[in-house]
């Protein structure tokens, strides 16, 4: 994929404390989070973050609690001011915007979905969904038309006149998504948008998001602490630990080549056969393929192939992509890919 970079973060630092500027130098010189707190009394929130987010892709930022995910996502629309660094949106540095321009950008270019929904409790579902347009000064009727359309799209037709507290958590978050979609912004920020929902509803919502994304092609920045969710949604995965990016890239690639014991440990619990895809473990096509046991699709999961093969590890499949043969898949490679690289002995997470 050669999409343009839509949002770009360069050398971003965030330090919490009474005089962040004074300790910025130390942070830049590589003083780590613990000693910055011990010796200088400041919390290192984010350290030297560089991420490029491409147009029309879902970038998932993943990390455990306290790793700085919420801090990072709030920098995109400057709900939090960075201590140092650049935030470029379509090449424009958000830091140079005046208060007025910043507000216009928040109104039109970015929308946000929140972990705790953050709907206005005294407004109906319809009014909530139309928030962005109402804020921009659209007439109520115009806002309602748009809002109705998107409520319908997220499966909430018929609930327009309800109040948020009359809806379940899953439905409230659908309103949250409709509210973000109604603003018609190119960038959508989602801070642990599905974390407060129970697992089944969460899966539904992930499917809804993927389905919407297929037709809308927004630039979505999604925060998650759940690796399964991250792998399911991400086109680009960023792994954050203690305010630092420790690996980023194509999710399949991270899974197969974790660069850090922390990530190895992280990915070792994952159901790899369901996440890994044929394209990640196949061999590129060399001349004429010898006898194959059949065709599999480039984007099939390994699980699909295993059920296809009845567990026979001697088989070799031909991999098809958009009707063309593009490679071969040995069942042996597949099985090998299912075993994570030996995670480090002492568990990082404990």
């Amino acid at each position: 994929m050669t999409a343009n970079v839509k949002v770009s973060i360069k050398n971003l630092y965030k330090i919490f404390g009474p005089a962040p500027e004074s300790v910025l130098e130390h942070a830049k010189n590589g003083v780590d989070k613990a000693s910055l707190l011990d010796q200088h009394g400041h919390v290192l929130g984010l350290k030297d973050i560089n991420i490029d987010m491409k147009d029309g892709e879902i970038t998932v930022i993943m990390g455990l609690s306290g790793s700085g995910k919420s801090t990072l996502i709030r920098h995109f629309n400057r709900l939090i001011e960075p201590t140092d660094g650049q935030i470029l949106i379509d090449g424009v540095d958000v830091m140079t915007l005046s208060a007025d321009d910043l507000r216009k950008m928040r109104q039109a270019d970015m929308s946000m979905v929140f972990q705790k929904f953050a709907l206005l409790p005294h407004k109906t579902v319809l009014e909530n969904a139309g928030t962005a347009l109402r804020v921009r000064g659209f007439k109520a009727e115009e806002a309602d038309v748009e809002a109705r359309k998107w409520l319908d799209r997220v499966g909430l037709a018929g609930f327009e006149d309800h109040y948020p507290h009359q809806l379940s958590g899953g439905m409230q978050q659908r309103v949250g998504i409709a509210r973000a979609l109604t603003s018609n912004s190119a960038v959508m920020l989602m801070d642990e948008a599905f974390s407060a929902l129970d697992p089944l509803i969460r899966t539904d919502m992930q499917d809804l998001l993927l389905e919407l994304q297929k037709e809308l092609h927004k630039t979505i920045i999604f925060i998650s602490h759940d690796l399964d969710e991250a792998l399911k949604l991400a086109d680009h995965l960023v792994i954050l630990k203690d305010g630092e990016v420790i690996q980023q890239g194509e999710p399949q690639n991270i899974l197969l080549n974790p660069s850090d014991p922390y990530i190895e440990d992280f990915v070792s619990d994952i159901n790899r056969s369901r996440v890994l895809r044929v394209r990640s473990v196949m061999q590129p096509l060399k001349e004429a393929a010898s006898s194959t046991a059949g065709n599999v699709d480039y984007n099939d999961t390994l699980e699909d192939v295993i059920s296809h093969s009845d567990g026979d590890t001697t088989k070799v499949y031909l991999v098809m992509h958009e009707g063309e043969p593009v490679g071969t898949l040995c069942m042996k490679d597949l099985v090998r890919a299912l075993v994570p690289r030996v995670p480090s002995e002492e568990s990082i997470r404990s």
Binding site: L79, R106, A118, L119, P121
Partner: protein, 345 residues
């Protein structure tokens, strides 16, 4: 010979104190002593050691002022700033007198059935509660039946105006406080003082400034006393608005004004209404006391009961005040409940 003479002598301050010539008016203690036929120079021991108060020290040393001098000093200070204060405050507060007099006149002039009718419609419209409306109707008919209608109307008119003005000024002050920590720090001690000062003490400086016959005197006293809870709870209510929702408002690019009007005030409304409820109850309490400074209404009857020992008059009007209090409380609570229902989260 006063007890502390020797003290001043030993400190060598006799010169500074001046000669023992005791001129000027006598203190109360001296007067009493004189009337008893004893002299103030009694033999003293450690058991009768007098506290070194201003009066006792003055007895030994002329140069030290007496307590009476201090109180008259305070009085003189007030008198000296009185005219300039009056010059500023009188025209500023004049509309309050007009409002109070006007509304009392209007409410009394209205035929009883019209006033009760309007009240009932308004109560139903505000509370949407049939029970509250019936309570109001029964209360008013009862008050009218026992010929306390006029007094009760006067009391209600005063409460109506004073509560209205308290909300008018209190809510903006509360909003400003919630937006500015330094202002909040400065205003809270003032509110504490207004709330803890015994209600009679309020009246004293006001009596100095305005003539007792002017309605604004009691109007100001009531408003100063009753405005405190609206201010406090507006400030609190806005500060307590869910930060996640504020963040959402910011993320969608709301201006400060949009945020205030469409998020903060509506979400703070239950708290503000709780403040209004307290304000109403406090103005009712104050309007009774304010009858001391010519506020009309049921308080006048209570006062008459006390002054003339007309036990029945006092008790019946006291009872009327209680049922007015219940009524005001119920109606404002019903309004609060109605505001709350639509935003239970």
């Amino acid at each position: 010979m006063a007890f502390y003479d020797s003290l001043f002598d030993s400190l060598g301050l006799r010169e500074w104190c001046g000669a023992g010539d005791k001129g000027g008016p006598m203190t109360m203690a001296e007067l009493l002593a004189k009337s008893k036929g004893t002299t103030a120079t009694e033999e003293t021991s450690a058991l009768t050691l007098p506290f070194p108060s201003l009066d006792n020290l003055h007895a030994a040393c002329e140069a030290i002022p007496r307590t009476r001098d201090m109180t008259s000093g305070v009085e003189n200070f007030f008198l000296s700033i009185k005219s300039s204060l009056q010059f500023v405050l009188d025209p500023l507060t004049q509309p309050l007198s007009w409002l109070l007099d006007g509304s009392i006149w209007l409410f009394i002039a209205m035929p009883w059935w019209l006033l009760i009718g309007i009240t009932l419609v308004a109560v139903y419209w505000i509370t949407r509660s049939r029970a509250s409306t019936i309570l109001v109707a029964v209360t008013w008919l009862f008050l009218a039946f026992i010929d306390h209608y006029d007094y009760a109307v006067q009391t209600m008119a005063i409460i109506f105006i004073c509560t209205g003005l308290s909300v008018l000024f209190g809510v903006p002050i509360g909003i400003a406080m919630s937006k500015n920590d330094r202002l909040q720090k400065a205003v809270i001690p003032v509110l504490d003082m207004l709330q803890t000062l015994p209600s009679f003490v309020y009246l004293i400086p006001l009596i100095f400034l305005f003539s007792v016959t002017e309605s604004k005197l009691y109007g100001i006293a009531i408003i100063l006393y009753a405005i405190v809870p609206v201010i406090r709870l507006t400030d609190l209510g806005i500060r307590l608005v869910d930060q996640d929702i504020i963040e959402a408002a910011n993320a969608f690019g709301m201006t400060a004004r949009q945020k205030l009007l469409s998020v903060e005030l509506p979400l703070a409304l239950p708290n503000i209404m709780a403040g209004v409820n307290q304000t109403i109850m406090m103005s009712l309490a104050m309007v009774v006391i304010a009858s001391l400074v010519s506020a009309p209404g049921l308080g006048v009857l209570v006062l008459r009961g006390i002054n003339n020992l007309e036990l029945g008059v006092g008790l019946v009007s006291g009872f009327c005040i209680v049922i007015l209090a219940i009524l005001l409380d119920r109606v404002s609570k019903a309004t609060l409940a109605r505001v709350d229902v639509s935003q239970d989260s």
